[in-house]
Amino acid sequence: MSPGIDLQGSFIQLLTSLGLPPQLAKVVWIPLPLLLMLIAATVGVLVVVWLERKISAAAQQRVGPEYAGPLGTLQPVADGLKLLFKEDIIPAQADPWLFSIGPALVVVPVFLSYLIIPFGQNLNITDLGLGVFLWIALSSVAPVGLLMSGYSSNNKYSLLGGLRAAAQSISYEIPLALAVLAIVMMSNSLSTVDIVGQQSGYGILGWNIWRQPVGFLIFWVAALAECERLPFDLPEAEEELVAGYQTEYGGMRFALFYLGSYVNLILSALLVAVLYLGGWELPISVDWITSLLGLDPATPWLQVITASLGITMVVLKAYLLVFLAVLLRWTVPRVRIDQLLDLGWKFLLPVALVNLLLTAALKITFPAFFGG
């Protein structure tokens, strides 16, 4: 396993060679990846919104956005600008503080979770030891924001939507965490970089999806529920609840919810790619190819190529999953609230527990295959 490209090290080295003390060089470096990730996430949302509208249109034999930019690619930008210029309204009877904090509390944890997404061995904001656990912890903050905005809107639909969002998040958090736990047990680490590292070396055969097929399904279903995507979009079911907790929101506050839901979808897809689909690994191991061609993995141009290939792989896998989510949206009808809770507590939870126990048993029996 080659360490790959190390932008941080090179950048700090460059600055220290220019005469800056190393601590200061690190301080100069820190905001750069953060800013880059923020921009990348926002651009990712624009792409996902466009993709969602185009794929939905194709699935329904429509054309979809067509006139804003080539093939309608600027449509999400136009939507965002429209929301930006709209009047900022707080309903007269609403609680202004909670009403304003709610959307921020939903969006901020989602963006924070991007801290732990690795795009390469050293291509991440930070390689936290806690890794996935941080994401699980942060994703439990969002329902508080949803409940807050639902309650403060002073609207029965909003309140019901907020309560549903909280109930849904709580019941799907547990199978999600259990599915992640099985992965963590196999790789002996919570760090996302280590989890990918444990899947590397054998190309597509080494990916966790072969060792954790059930976990993969549980994780994906629970992640869809966490993102409130269509089979589980009860909190904002427009036929029943107008728009759930978003009913009273408009303008930029609504845009925050909108942005948050799509950023969350990309985040979930990225995490599935990292946890189950080998992260930045190619279907054929890069190490294997380089050794076959007799190249030194430390060659700078090769490092640049492998790094960009790795980023492409992560993004590609994530977008394939997003595509699957959009397809699922137009295939599966929305579940009822009791079916939703039944699925969460009576199906996913026991299956996730059995999956965890099986993984533990297999790990003891075949330590070579299940990470000793």
Partner: protein, 202 residues
């Protein structure tokens, strides 16, 4: 114990079945993605209305005898017929005639009952305006003929499903020369008139 195991087995088969059905559904949705869009891109493409289309009513001023049958058969007595009785000629002289298409339900009763056929249905359906009173057409406006979709250089005319050749489901890309499925109205008349004398003879 055996009962419990059977329950678990049943549950597992049910779950597998559900997964299978979701998979089938996904393949259907996926298949639909590669089909051509069936939607009509409205201001740039328009459907040619059928010959029986009940659109805006056309009125021929000179044919009207101001009998007011149209008013009587109208469900809401909509047409406004203003006439003066000319005692010398002992005839009604029509002064003005109007129909408010903001209120009309396009049932076609007036067209059906008009004794002089001065009313007829056109294929015009684009009746939007900023003021509902703009839709109150007087006899001059009613006498105008609608602009044909096929004559508009800005618009791609598309045929409706019933006017497409046999087997075609999508109007996009069907050549103008392709004949519609079944007989054309004049051919039906021709056939009927060819059969009718034979019936009389027998």
């Amino acid at each position: 114990m055996l009962k419990f195991l059977k329950k678990v087995g049943d549950y597992a088969t049910e779950a597998a079945q559900a997964a299978k059905y979701i998979g089938q559904g996904l393949s259907v949705t996926f298949d639909h993605m590669q089909r051509r869009p069936v939607t009509v891109q409205y201001p740039y493409e328009k459907l040619v209305p059928s010959e029986r289309y009940r659109g805006r009513i056309h009125f021929e001023y000179d044919k009207c005898i101001a009998c007011e049958v149209c008013v009587r058969v109208c469900p809401i007595n909509l047409p406004v017929v203003d006439y003066e009785y000319n005692k010398a000629a002992r005839k009604k002289e029509l002064k003005s005639y109007s129909i408010d298409f903001g209120v009309c339900i396009f049932c076609g009763n007036c067209v059906e009952y008009c004794p002089t056929n001065c009313l007829s249905m056109t294929e015009e359906y684009e009746l939007s305006s900023y003021d509902r009173h703009d839709l109150n057409f007087d006899n001059v406006a009613l006498g105008r003929l609608p602009y044909k979709v096929t004559d508009d250089p800005m618009v791609t005319p598309l045929r409706e499903l019933a006017y497409l050749p046999k087997g075609a489901m999508d109007p996009h890309g069907v050549p103008d020369s392709a004949r519609r499925a079944g007989l054309r109205p004049e051919e039906i008349i021709e056939k009927e008139s060819a059969e009718a004398p034979a019936e009389v003879e027998s």
